[in-house]
Structures are given as structure tokens and as C-alpha cells.
């Protein structure tokens, strides 16, 4: 039975096309060609057109191909994982690396994977400690420390 294409695939094709359009518009504000040589706007303009055209081709393919129900996969869990990761990355500067990563992992274990809360907190704490030990203490990476110094 033919069904509609996966919304995620359509959304991604639209996003790619939008990036192409942004590049075309941005390139139009840059010098394009001078004498015998292309300038900084030339390649972004060409790439933008190619990306927009290929995204349109992908979209066309999505609606022309027969998508069976088996092709569609649940997106709830990946979206939760992606949201947790995004929040952790955004919050690293404000909360500090240790706090942001600990909260992200605790959320993934306790809420997404539905593991026991105490076990989730212990595993998250230990993993965060190892990450801080390796990157900050051993490799000397200046990770954001936040108000609590971790």
C-alpha cells in the first residue's frame, strides 16, 4: 500500500533547499567576478543553486516513490535524544560542562530509557566524572566550568 513520504525526509529536503536559497541570496551581496577570476560570491552562488535544485529532485523523488508503511520509523525517541543533546550543548556555557552533561545523561537514562532513578544518577555521575577527568584533568581541555566550578 502506498502511503505519504516520511515527514522527516520531506522536512530535511525543505531544510536543504532553504540553505541553498540562503546561500544564493547571500552570494548575490558579494563580489561575483573580476577580470578573468571568480570572486568570493561565485562558488557559493553555484553551490546554492545546485543544493536547491538537488533538494527539489529529492522532494520529487519522495513523492513519486511508493513509500510503504515499513519505511516509516517512530521519531519520538530520537527527537527526545536530540532535544536533550541540544539543550546540553546550549547549556554548557551557562551551567558548566559537568552539570550539563550529567543532567543530559540522567534524563536519557531515567526518562528516555526508563531505567531506575538511583542507578541512572550513579551511572551519569560516574560517566561525567570520567569525562571531566579525561578531558579537563588529563588532556587539559578548557571546558566551561559554570557557577559551580564543574
Amino acid at each position: 500500500m502506498a502511503v505519504r513520504p516520511a515527514p522527516g525526509e520531506v522536512g530535511l529536503a525543505i531544510l536543504f533547499a532553504l540553505v541553498g536559497v540562503v546561500w544564493i541570496v547571500g552570494a548575490l551581496g558579494m563580489p561575483f567576478w573580476e577580470g578573468f577570476a571568480p570572486q568570493s560570491g561565485f562558488l557559493p552562488f553555484v553551490y546554492g543553486i545546485m543544493l536547491a535544485a538537488l533538494s527539489a529532485a529529492v522532494m520529487l523523488g519522495l513523492f513519486r516513490a511508493e513509500n510503504t508503511a515499513a519505511d516509516l520509523q517512530p521519531v519520538g525517541k530520537p527527537l527526545l535524544v536530540l532535544a536533550a543533546l541540544t539543550l546540553a550543548v546550549v547549556g554548557v556555557q551557562a551551567a558548566g560542562f559537568g552539570i550539563a552533561i550529567f543532567l543530559m545523561m540522567a534524563f536519557l537514562f531515567a526518562v528516555v530509557e526508563r531505567l531506575p532513578v538511583i542507578r541512572s544518577l550513579i551511572v551519569s555521575g560516574l560517566t561525567t566524572a570520567v569525562l571531566i577527568g579525561v578531558f579537563r584533568a588529563w588532556l587539559g581541555v578548557p571546558l566551561p566550568a559554570g557557577p559551580f566550578g564543574i
Partner: protein, 386 residues
Amino acid sequence: MGSFFELMNGFASALTPTHLAMCFAGVALGQIVGVLPGIGPSAAIALLLPLTYGSSPTAAIIMFAGIYYGAQYGGTLTSVLISVPGEASTVMTSIDGHQMALQGRGGVALGIAAIGSFIAGTLGTLGLMLLAPPLARGALAFGPPEYFALVVLGLTALAAVGSSLSKGLATGVLGLVLGTIGIDPQTGVSRFDFGFVWLLDGIEFIVLTVALFGVGEVLATCTMGTVRPVVEVKGMLPTREDWRASRMPILRGSFIGFVVGVLPATGATIASFVAYIVEKKLARDPSRFGHGAIEGVAGPEASNNAAAAGAMVPMLALGVPGSGTTAVILGALIMFGLRPGPEMFEKNSELVWAVIASMYIGNVLLLLMNLPLAGLFAKLLKVPYH
């Protein structure tokens, strides 16, 4: 003869305690990565990249190569025991391998896979050693038009990745688009920095690699997977009859895998598919395939290991990735400040030959690990994968 001395120098470097330890760590990690569905060698290498900051490039690349070919061995275990391929390249193994396991011949399937993988891995490394240096010497004569053609080849090869031509090309062009972020090296004009100072240098390769291969793979696989019973592993060594039926599929698989692996953007998965199809076509009784034919295990297993070695040929000789994982290793070379391509055989010959020598050593280590320790590895499958 020059290559022989270079290889001996490579062995001298690969057999130093540090490099030997990195080789062992790489193949052991590769085994684990291969066993666990949901994380592949490209993701594992991408996630380990930051940890190798500051270490010697030779040691790091030896470990990454070990993860790559080690994963081909490890993926077999889950394919045979629970019919869940740990790696895409072991999908074909699961068809007949799991049937053999259900018939109580899981140990034989794993044994012939390990022996076939060892033979193919060794032959593939031999092929890499013989083919890569002349290819690199030829490529040294390249001028701007040839390099341009090489880049176009690499980009168009993207179209062969995945199931859709337009999707492959679109993602390739997206890479080009992202490459224009930051200061234009020719004119000094800042492009698409959106007011962020940290975008003036462009987007770091390592950031993209970790995001695409590490996070991407985790997101893609977190909806899949179920817990299944583990089949017991007994008797690893194949009988004389099994060996007779498997030796030609192993040799054919080695050849097919190496040739397919050398072609850019193909890799071990396609190699194993081709090897399985060839074995089925050549079989006197093709109806046995799908019901526990040992040739259906030996051929694909040999081919995916030979392909891992073959994929290193364009990477080392031309700077063009032969597979997704070699693309990440290529990124690692760039991260270490090296310039992948034909000049590597001249400017970084110690690294290149140490990696090639380590692949011989790694294959021996993997054989020694796989035959007696398969039962132990099988216990990893008890880790729940939701």
C-alpha cells in the same frame, strides 16, 4: 625490493610496545564495536578522535585502522548467534550463519568466518602493500587538472552511497556549501559567518565528523533493536569437509572484496553482497543458500575483511576515501596536520608502512582472539539494546 625494506621498517615501528598496544586496543575495540549493534566503526573512530589529540599520529592511525578491520570480525558474532548484524557488512553472513547456528553449527560458522577473515585480511593487506605505492607514484605526476578530476571523482562517488542518487549528491553539495563558511582564502572576504566570530575559521572537520557519524548513528539506531536469546557457542574448528567447501569461496571473496573496496564509496557492505551473490550463482545447489550453506558465510566474511584493506588503498595513495570509515580516518590524518594523498608515501612513509605492518599483526591478533574467545564475546550480546 624497496617496498620490502619499507615494510620491514614498518614492522620495526609497529612492533614497538606503544604501537603494539595501540594495535591490540584497536582490534579489541573494533571487535566490541562490531559486536554491539547500533555503533559502527565510523562512529567509534569519530567519538575517539578527540581522545587522540596530542598522541602520536602513527599510534592513533594504527588504532583506528584496527577498529575498522576488527569491527568486520566482531559483526559476525551477532549475525551468526542472534541474526542481528552488528555491522551492515555482515548482513549477508546472518542469512546462512544464523541458520547454521540453529542447526547447532554456530561454532563452525564462527570458526570459518574467523579463518576466512584472517586469510582475506592478510591477502587484502598484501594487495594494499603492492597496489598503493605504484598508485601513489603515478598520482605524484598529477597536475591541477588531474587533482580537479580526483576531487570531482570523490564528490560524484558520493552518489553511490546510500539508496538515492539525488540524496547522495545533495549531501555532497551541502558539504561544499558548508565549506564556504568563513574567510575566503583567495580574497579575504568573510562569507556566511552570520556575525559569529568563531565561524570566521569555518566549521572544523572534527565537529562535523562527530555530529554526522557519532550523533547521527546513535539517533538512527535508537529506535531499533530487541533482546533475543543467545545461542551457545561450541566447537570452533571446521571439519575437513567444511574447509573443502569454504576454501574457494574464501579466495573468491578475498579478490571480490579487495577490488570492490578499492573503488571509492563502495566498501565492505557492497563487497559482502557481491560475494554472496557470486557464491550462490556458482553453487551446484543454490537452494542450500539461506538454509545454512557454509559458502554463504565464508565468501561474504572474506570479502568484507578484504574490502576493509582495499578501502585503505585510495585513502593512502590518493587521499580519496574508499568507505565511510576511511573518510573519518582521513579526517584524523588532517587533524594531525598530515596531508593525505600521494605525497604520504614519500613524506610520511614511516607512518604509512607502520600502519600496513600493523594490519598484518592485527589480523593475527584477531584470529587468536576470535577462535578461543568467541564464547566470551558472545556474552556481550546479553547487554540489553532497547
